[in-house]
Amino acid sequence: MKKQTTILVALLLWCCGTVLAQVTFPYNGVKDQRDGWYAFTNATVIPQAGSEIKNATLVIKEGRIVSITPNGSVPEGAVEVDAEGKYIYPSLIDMYAEYGLPEAKSVGERPRQQPQMLSNKEGAYGWNEALKPEFRAHEYFTPDGKAAKNLRGFGFGVVSSLQQDGISRGSSVVVSLGEERANEVIIKSEGAHYLSFSKGVSTQSYPNSLMGVMALLRQTYIDAAWYQDTDEEGTNLSLEAWNDVQALPQIFAVSDWQEVLRAQVLAKEFGKKYIIKGSGDEYQRIAEMKQSGATFILPLDFPDAYDVTDPYDAHQLSLTQLRHWEMAPTNPAKMAEAGIKFAITADGHKKSSDFFGALRKAIESGLSEADALRALTETPATLLGISEEAGTLATGKWANFLITSAPLFAKGTKIHHNWVQGKPHVMDALPAHDLTGDYTLKAGSRAYNMTVGAKGAKIKIDEETELDVKYSEDGGLITLSFPQDKGAGLMRLSGLVDGDMWRGRGQDPTGAWINWEAEKTGGQAAAEEKEGKETAATAMVSQQTAPYGAFGWTSRPQAETVIIRNATLWTNEESGILEKADIMLQNGKIAQVGGSIRGPRGAIEIDGEGMHVTPGIIDEHSHIAISRGVNESSQESTAEVSIADVVDATDVDIYRQLSGGVTTSQLLHGSANPIGGQSALIKLRWGYTPEEMKFAGAPGFIKFALGENVKQSNRSNSYGIRYPQTRMGVEQVFENYFTEARAYGEAIDRGEKVRRDLELETLLEILNGERFITCHSYQQGEINMLLKVADRFGFRVNTFTHILEGYKVADKMAEHGAGGSSFSDWWAYKFEVVDAIPYNGAIMHEQGVTVAFNSDDAEMARRLNQEAAKAVLFGGVSEEEALKFVTLNPAKLLHIDDKVGSLKVGKDADIVIWTDNPLSVYARAKHTYVDGIKFYDMDEDVTRRAALQDERNALIQKMLDAKEGGAKTQPAKGRGQRHYHCDTEDDEGR
């Protein structure tokens, strides 16, 4: 039955093929259209990953496969190609290639050091230069013979070619790698829509942060949907194109595993299904990758070993870097093992030998050959929607296949032919005859036993003596040379190959002409080379931890039932400071406080004698754990961006701050613009994913800023373009945006159909009391100004941060109900802080303002308890109240004091055990608990350090061995760390 169908399809194709051969193009001379009817015989055909047909006959005609049959006969009229001993594979498909397209170039120029507010692109396009959904690769595509040849060397027959530039990169074109006209090689004019988190060559200022990219994508999804339903916008070709490309597969390129999760956030919000072009570090969080439900395109980007010969150089490398060298090749295997569907791309590889080298590494690291082949054939074909045409060898599909000398992924395998749509491309001509085997060679008066291998031959004289024979074959003629005897002159022979018999004439070392012949006496020499296998066996030394680096967890820590006895409890409640009291943590909550506790069986008992227990420290103003940019500084208002989109769960500062007793941090947007972005409130759950770190049930916040940073006072004058440049302008920014937001809200209330505007929506939340402000501020005048703006618009300024002149208007703040989150003692770093005083906190506190001390600094955050002590030193705040400056008060300011901030039954078990009075410079955090889970333990930390050193050393030794064994190395460039402050501004949107 099946066979009949096959024949039927074949007949159908035959007829259709002839019809399709008509083209509009004129031709010159006598028409020469051939049907390309071939039969490949005696080959091992691998029609698709996991199956194999030995001694198969593959018949193709007019670019398509007609049949594949075991021991099949050659149809009359077909050209026979004897492929004995050869392998035939479907040719490979790369769905992430840049081929035959012009290089992306910036549109126009951006004046040096000046902001560019709008796109430079002329025409009825959208406002942002980094969004190019209108770029249709097929309109720009020109076949490029040299590049095609190179790609065919990789084994590719079809690629999806895109311009790798921009956030929306437009659509790709799926092409075969033939040498024909563009018309003929384009298989699918629109392959997929490609996206990324990088704005590429766009010179426009927005977005200059990762969170800006996220916001831009969100708003674009919304705008495009709105555009479809309304004519308010006029013509916007970009939005039109955006809507068009939504029907295609959506491929999202990311640069690390956290970006996979970020892309999936967008996917979920807008009902998209992204194929993720990964970065190769997915093995670090396999479970999350699996859970994301995404399909992947994986690069094979495996780093060379670092040169760690110099111990000081090695010292600069991080554990993550060391591990990545060892583990990156396991990435595809781990993904396959987890049952995650993926394609493989050669993106990043310039040479085919490097690509196959990397593939072999991946296979040696556990990827099955079938999975490897599938990821390069069937999977990309399916994802690109061309599986009817390509990806496997089956009747009716394109005749896109490879003829190889041995199994495709084996070392030393040559690709002889790469057939593209039935057209042969010869890389390495098929030998007329398989030459390998054992021969008896007679040359003149001498007779030898010769063994011919794939690369060279040997003559065996006796047990000890072997002679090297050089040979080359070309078009059935053969040349041999070898020493007549050990150390003697060369015999030089030339002749023809006639099946198993070679014969011809030659000269011996004396120059005398001789006859010679060689006859094959035995089968093929062992094809398998011995090298290649030896690297596989070495054991892996990298630990799997979360986060994937120093101080990570090998298994996730669990909440414990803990009783701390006889400690000094700083309750921050009416009961004040309790001496010699017990506290119990259970199920992640504070279960009992005070007195002597009879705990449940199995509870962990801690002797708290001499220790102090406080609520965990809450940093109201932090910039740790943020990926790619703390400021979206391109516009005066960026209320639409959110740090919550870009939390970096791998930042080692999380662990460092746990060691200083911090349990909750508000990750704030910077202070580059009057209306900044939304913040993220996180608990320092080290080792968790960004989403898992977020403080559940906390209200939203947004950063505002006043003064020198927003008016760009401390910059070169060429920046003096972006509004505002004075404190006068700052007020007007707020007036303007809140007026807009109010109108937006009123329109919604009237039931008008409005374009959902994420920026105004956020501001409207402020007006409605649903979102709170933390405002960067210094001078009393501007503080007062914002209070008055808020009064006029009927909202409350929740928190002034920095607020170094708060002491001058503490009465006004108290009256308004604004809190102050300040530095304990910073000043003199810029003009607006010349009147800052360390008594600021004490005065505001006395005037009834809720006062917090914050860090705004990754280092200081580890010692916020010491900063609190300065409220005692400067202004005589009581110790009990001073500790609240870094615990309960920030909790109040953040509206989370019902959950954290004091030792109260039912609150989250976020606590710190200190070795001393927490306000003393001598106090060290012994244990830090978040939700009853011990995330930091002073003693365990010591153990971890030892384990870290051991693992580092094992990896370094392994790298040294690799170098010794001849592996390529790269210089030991250590990974560094970026510490953000309020005013860090760089273009990180790229």
Binding site: A828, Q866, S920, A923, P971
Partner: protein, 427 residues
Amino acid sequence: MQLKHIFLLFATLLSSLLMAQPPVPGAVQAKPIAIVGGTAHLGNGEVIENALVTFDQGKITRVDRASAKVDLSDHEVVDGTGKHIYPGLIAPNTQLGIVEIAAVSATRDNAETGYLNPNARSLVAYNTDSQVTPTVRSRGVLFAQVTPQGGALSGQSSIVQLDAWNWEDAAVLADDGHHLNWPRRRSYSWRQGTWTKNERYAEQVQSVEDFLRQAQAYCAGADREPNLRLASACGLFNGKQRLFVHANLAKDIEQAILLGKKFDLDLVIVGGEESYLVTELLREYKVPVVLGPTHALPGTLDSDVDQPFKTPAALHEAGVQFCLSNEGFWQQRNLPFQAGTAVAYGLPYEKAIQALTLDAASILGVADRIGSLEVGKDASLIITSGDVLDMRTSVVEHAFIDGRKVDLDNKQDQLYRRFQTKYQRQK
């Protein structure tokens, strides 16, 4: 109530008189002074409980137990009971007095333009009328090594006392040393997230070495054409000046030591983030370290989270001579707490005091005059109500420089009083 109001009125008057002016420098010691009782931390590692410290005409005359029978009838007696007495603290490597507001260039005199500026002298730029200085000395820091920055050779620092009419009065030791910022062998690329090699590193090191070679020859010869740059370095070769090399990486420290040996220089390492890796070498070559801020983040991602906190203890245990420092200018008021943290992480307490006093004085070359409570030394000391290293207790009640009583008032305290008045009136 009445009394309080009078006091407030007085305070208001006083503050409005003094507003925006740093306090008047203390008058020359007119009468012998005796501090009776209290714990004296001598700065050399010794402690005397219930101590007696006397000084006259600006010099310390007695350091003893309070039980000693001494006639103090002509002395002004300060009751030290329950207090702590320390030598005035010394802040090495600071821009105090040469930067007033960091972001305002008109107030910055810390970095001259150019790569080799050995002839620049910080002393002449030192502003005795800075509003920042009084806030620092009120925390017990009475001396500073005012240090230029920028380029490779930044210029010469000077040791000043922090209660003076002008820079001449202020100088304790003018032009104490030169400062070399060891060329950076790498730079951080945030785009790549990694450190990358400085391709000009060898050339930059060479230019410094060439300069020293030229200067050495110049200083040895007679009748040379005048050259300000070369001449300014002669102190390095005749033992009058030290070379402070600002270096953090182990390799940089090693290379600096080599350079010091090559030119037979009196070498001091400043910063020394990775000094804990090369303690043997530092001890072997007797190179002291002005350790950078204890309150710093670890140098590499994998470093122990408390590495900078415990580096002082590591140097101490390894027998390396070192003192402590803090970066910047206004930040010097937190200098004592840098030592406090070092104590929390293993440095013995008196050793920490020594690292802010006598060891700092020795490393800066002024130990003959300041740094410890010893007879014959300058009467420059502080009296605190509690432990000076702990912010919980670090209240400085009195300070003396050369026996002169230092006014501990400052702009920030004035502003505090001013606004206390505002809120008092509202009651």
